[in-house]
């Protein structure tokens, strides 16, 4: 605090509270909307305060079916989303750890070339080359499968870079000492490198989990069988029914349920989340 200016402090708090209110507004509206029966929505009318159909709507979408043309319940799609998110997260972390280990702690021909190939994946987000990627996955027979949902998304330049930075900061003496004590590359990897990178892995886990859970276009394209629907993409299917028949209460309840897990992760693991965000931008 430089000087005491009560009015300025007051303005600061007021601005922040206003910002928070604006940021929360759409979620508040969605929450209110999900507590009314579908018939409450009509021309010139949307409920602004909580109704009494909340339990019925939330129960129906969670355990019966999400509605609006999606016949599987939300808990089932949550499970699919969880499988996809964890598959992508663990996959990315595992292959990035291994390749960063190879690039930093070994010398072999074409080392720089390999690094550049991995680097290129950073340059090509899936949306940009969506048509050919879809064709490749279709040719491999991976449509409507968990492998198809996760495998194409697990190559990660960002994670490889992050682990490379982290490994480069490990003093060479540590490697020398380990080698002198007779530790081979695997033992060094599991007993020294992994424990040292624990916080980095955890921070990256938070970021990658959000990335995986929020995948939208990819699952939308490759899943036509509702056994593989993920929660975020199912919203699109629900919105595709003809305009007059949309049950907004169910859509809002599903939307809130779809954002709940990643939001809970961000709030619950705030420190790791901030660290992951800052690290992965280096």
């Amino acid at each position: 605090m430089i000087e005491n200016r009560p009015w300025l402090t007051f303005t600061s708090h007021a601005t922040l509270l206003l910002g928070i209110a604006l940021v929360a507004l759409p979620v508040w509206m969605a929450l209110v909307a999900s507590t009314h029966p579908a018939s409450a929505f009509g021309v010139g009318h949307i409920p602004l305060w909580f109704g009494d159909a909340g339990a019925a709507t939330w129960g129906a979408v969670l355990f019966d079916k999400a509605g609006n043309g999606v016949d599987v319940p939300v808990w089932f799609m949550m499970l699919n989303s969880l499988i996809m998110a964890l598959g992508i997260t663990f996959g990315k972390i595992a292959i990035s750890l291994l390749s960063a280990y190879a690039i930093v702690f070994f010398r072999f021909p074409l080392r720089g070339f390999c690094f550049w190939i991995i680097f290129m994946t950073l340059m090509l987000p899936v949306e940009v080359r969506i048509v050919p990627t879809f064709e490749v996955v279709a040719n491999l027979g991976l449509l409507n499968s968990y492998t198809g949902l996760t495998l194409p998304l697990i190559a990660s330049a960002t994670a490889t870079f992050l682990f490379r930075q982290c490994f480069l900061s490990i003093p060479g003496e540590l490697v020398e000492a380990a080698r002198m004590d007779g530790a081979g590359p695997w033992r060094f990897f599991f007993d020294i490198l992994l424990p040292l990178s624990r916080t980095n892995i955890a921070a990256l886990f938070v970021i990658l989990f959000i990335y995986g859970w929020n995948q939208y276009l990819w699952p939308l394209l490759i899943t036509t069988d509702d056994a593989y629907y993920t929660l975020v993409m199912s919203i699109k299917r629900m919105l595709s029914v003809t305009d007059g028949d949309i049950a907004w209460n169910q859509i809002m309840a599903t939307t809130l349920l779809a954002m709940l897990p990643p939001v809970a992760v961000v709030i619950g693991m705030q420190q790791l989340f901030v660290k992951g965000l800052v690290d992965s931008e280096k």
């Binding site: 928070i20 969605a30 190879a102 050919p132 590359p185």
Partner: protein
């Protein structure tokens, strides 16, 4: 120089999974896109003929493509500027206060975790012309709101939804940047009688410029490539072509219009743009290292 292990075969084994995934799901499709860009295929995928650069020539003579480029630029810069200004204001306020900083931070950062498509849906219903509360308030205030018909309003809607999601990210980086500004400078200026407003514009804001520039690039990249969900779940590029960004057009022409050659040519151009942006980003990161 790090001490290394002598094994020759092992590193290849370690790299294999990453290289395999990269080759199958990145390099192969990229190569396919490059190839398709020079062919024209009929809509059923039965035959195709080599057309050389014709797909590219078609694109560059297509007014819709230029329109989409303009749309993308307007959209991206609106998202970046709106997101940066709001986040900077909030971060400056949060930096000033002492009590409850963490609580404010928690309540501001969660939208980062919301999927773009869901952000779109949330704002969509608020602005729904027939029942959305904001649309009704605007109507009462004399502004006729209908994003189904008015291209500019559709654009405003996708900008709001995309910005909303990105504010948290900008806020965190601005707050970190503000906390790195040396207190002694601000104290010295305060003793010399500079008002908080003046101190901000003459000391804090210039010192923040590396952060601001970094965030500008990140936000532009975000608006370019990560807002597909917002657009697809709400306007689907419409009305007309008024919210069709370049990335959305690749998808739309390829999967809806079934113009594979044209879509592939657009992919190739976009890959070029991404490459360029990556280089800019990396050059800047080198500069950032020098700053610190």
């Amino acid at each position: 120089m790090t001490v290394t292990f002598p094994q020759k075969g092992l590193p290849w084994l370690l790299l294999l999974p990453q290289l395999l995934v990269t080759a199958v799901f990145f390099l192969w499709p990229a190569e396919q896109a490059l190839e398709q860009a020079f062919y024209r295929e009929d809509a059923f995928g039965l035959s195709r003929e080599f057309v050389g650069l014709e797909n590219f020539a078609d694109l560059f003579s297509d007014p819709l493509y230029y329109q989409s480029l303009v749309t993308t630029l307007v959209f991206s810069f609106s998202v970046a500027i709106a997101g940066l200004s709001v986040a900077l204001l909030l971060a400056v306020m949060a930096d000033r206060i002492i009590r409850g900083k963490l609580a404010y931070q928690t309540l501001l950062i969660w939208p980062y975790a919301v999927a773009p498509a869901l952000a779109g849906v949330l704002w969509w219903i608020l602005f729904d012309p027939s029942m959305g509360p904001i649309a009704l308030w605007l109507g009462a205030a004399g502004v006729e709101w209908n994003h189904y018909l008015d291209g500019n309003q559709a654009m405003i809607l996708v900008v709001i939804a995309s910005t909303w999601k990105q504010i948290s990210y900008n806020f965190l980086f601005f707050l970190a940047g503000l906390q790195a500004v040396p207190r002694s400078l601000i104290e010295a200026a305060a003793i010399d009688g500079a008002s908080p407003f003046k101190r901000f514009w003459t000391i804090v804001f210039p010192l923040l410029s590396p952060t601001t520039f970094f965030l500008l690039v990140v936000n532009l990249v975000y608006a370019f490539f990560e807002t597909f969900g917002v657009i697809d779940a709400t306007t689907k590029g419409g009305p007309g072509q008024s919210t069709t960004t370049l990335v959305y057009k690749v998808f739309d022409d390829g999967f809806v219009g079934l113009d594979l050659g044209g879509s592939a040519a657009q992919s190739v151009i976009l890959m070029g743009i991404v490459g360029l942006m990556t280089v800019v980003q990396f050059r800047f990161i080198e500069r950032k290292v020098q700053y610190s």
